[in-house]
Amino acid sequence: MSSKDYKNALNDIRLSSDFCAKMEKQLLKSNFDDDGYEEVENHVEVIENKGFKKYLAAAAVIAVIGAVGGGGYMNLRGGLGSDAQYGVESEVEEVSSETKNSDSVFDFPFASIELKGATFILQETNYGSIHSEVPVVASYDMAAQLIEVFSQVNWNESKSVTYTVNIPDDKDDDNNSEADELFTAINASLNGETIIFNYVYSGDYYYVHMYESGMINVYIRSTDNGLEKELGYNMTSEQYKEIRTILFGKEENKAFFAGINADLSGVRYAINGQSGTVTDEQAKYLAKCLKEMSDTLLSEGHKERPANEEPISLFIKDDAYDCRVDFYSTGEAFNKKMINSTNEITERAYMFNPVVYSDIKNILAGLDDIPCPVDVADMDGTLLKCTFDNKYNVYTLDKEQLKQLQSLLENCNWKPELYTTAIMNSSAFAETSFYNNSIVLKNKEQFLFIYSGGLAIYSDKNGTASSMPDIYHIDGIDQLISETKAMNSKMTPLNTNELINRELDICLSGDIAEVNIRGTNYPYTESGRKIPTARLREVFEGLEWEEMEFKEYDEESDPYSDLYSQYDDEDGTELKLYVINETSIYKVFYINSLGTYTNQETGRGYRCTEPEKVAERLDKLYEEYKK
């Protein structure tokens, strides 16, 4: 639809003056009662919404992990920046001839310009509107390298100018090369990337724009006589890339995170008392990981660092500043920066999703192949859930079978996987059907989820949100699947009642479980109520379960949409969702007041007999254990 129609439709909505007056009155109160309002933004998860979609268990794990940081990961990256943001106060460099240093001056055909100290701005434009600007002041070394590249450029004048473009009437004529050239120029100025530098010399203003395509436009305005001139040149796109790399570093290695805006290749790091230098490949991974995630700048008063923890530190130096960024496993980063010109030291704290810490750690450790990191041989009371060829079966394994499975796992190639890759790119989920070719092992203390694309999520730390599971990528998944299939063929699957009872055994394995109710009359903000598991056990006693028709969720729907959509029923029935152990990665158990239980690891739904009784018992317990 057109942006205009959309805007018009929404522009008709506005706040009433009464509402505005009330709000302004509230916002004017300077002595705000902190207890009066919940700390909303800092407790909002941004990435959690990726969970509970079609990636179910894996995503659920990640979602719970995502919630650990509890952060409103507001993106502060350069994309929305302005000159002021980067401390660029003047758009135009003014340099007198006396201050020129001949080693860093380049004789352009239109003027001799001192490049050292000139501010270059990398600007990104989308359909004519500027979306980001990153400035850099050229150092002496940069100037020398720029001169080398500029010396190779063919400075013959071209017709491509963008400042005063008139599209000729015969633009449609295929043979009109001038029109094509102008059209290309317009496109270049409206879309893509430009490096800009502006310069004043002897009263003349020079505005130089270099485009990705290699096109260079120079606009000159004389302050003496007001004369304006436009010039066009062409360098190659490779030469443009060289200039860009000299000034702004390799884009693929650049990170914008926790106050860092730098190429990380060659940066010193310290981890666990050891130090090293970030390699080009590690820089690429780090940049990719940090670009995918957001951070939140915390208030200036946030100074306290996590106790008893050695952070991962990056030491970044350039001509303008030295900085040290410490990343903590809690999802906090502290960026201590010293501005070289003034020796002023600042320190700012940021909050981020703790999965970033884990990724940084893995990247600096090398991401190489590792021996099989999981040990399932002693997993007592293990459930093995396999979905092969879209057929789903669940088994319990004896000692011998567990040993056999351990051996199959050890035959695969394992390497650490990055959370950001698993979350953001979902590259691990190669199959169109998420549940197909998945293997899930779990008992009361451990779990291992393996998905068709080779993503493996493993924890032997009880699966709580505070202990992040490890994630890996397995090569050789096809072999693992075919051998597990062969193993399954000799085993007897559990029936539905046995399966649900085993799930309940795992869910209710501790002494206490946390129960939440979601429904119209239950605020989301209310925390769960702690109920003895023995009492919860009684709720499910004597029930019979039947499996419901399986529904594969796609891009358009997910199990949660279904759950929520039930609340839109027009008959006015108040439906409720009971959630046991919501914060646990694999002990969570969802059942609604219709008696429907959905298993998040397999997407299968089950309905119990006597749902009214279950709902009544759960309501009663919930009320009884009111805080």
Partner: protein
């Protein structure tokens, strides 16, 4: 930006922007108003530092998106756009027929499309910026935008109302 009271400054400057965003995301006038209140009060309670107005606006939109998600989880979420809803809200909404019908379709859009459509069409953010704001990759945002447009177009076509013809042509 007025550092003395960022929240008040933000409310005066971006109150309606957040309202429209919240409506586009939640599909409900009443909830949009609640979200406006929550967003600005949370900024007031927990002051943040902003580098520029653009940064402030992006923060507010991000906060509105998050609030909408919480509403959804809280079961207060309902993608409806009834006149009753409007009457119980203090939001002012011009009743121009064409805009109203288009607004109903906007309100009916699934949240995942509503976010990208609003950020792109109303706020003019690029796909890259939206990807950055929503923590999604660019390809995902691009396809959500495409599907959202198609869905909106299909729903408008289903209406079959003559007054929609003009809008459909622009899709």
């Amino acid at each position: 930006m007025n550092n003395e009271n960022t929240a008040l400054y933000a409310f005066k400057k971006y109150g309606n922007t957040v309202l429209r965003a919240a409506f586009a995301f939640s599909g409900s006038y009443a909830e949009a108003e609640d979200i406006v209140q929550d967003v600005f009060l949370s900024l007031h309670t927990n002051p943040q530092n902003f580098n520029s107005d653009e940064h402030l606006k992006a923060w507010l939109l991000r906060a509105a998106i998050n609030k909408c998600k919480n509403f959804r989880r809280s079961f207060r979420f309902s993608r409806t756009c009834s006149i009753d809803d409007l009457e119980h809200s203090e939001v002012i909404c011009e009743m121009d027929t064409e805009s109203r019908e288009l607004r109903q379709q906007i309100a009916a859009l699934p949240k995942k499309y509503a976010e990208v459509i609003f950020l792109h069409y109303y706020e003019g953010y690029s796909i890259k910026e939206i990807a950055s704001m929503l923590n999604k990759n660019e390809n995902t945002v691009g396809s959500l935008l495409r599907r959202g447009r198609e869905k909106l177009k299909a729903e408008l076509e289903e209406e079959g109302d003559l007054c929609q013809v003009k809008i459909i042509k622009t899709l």
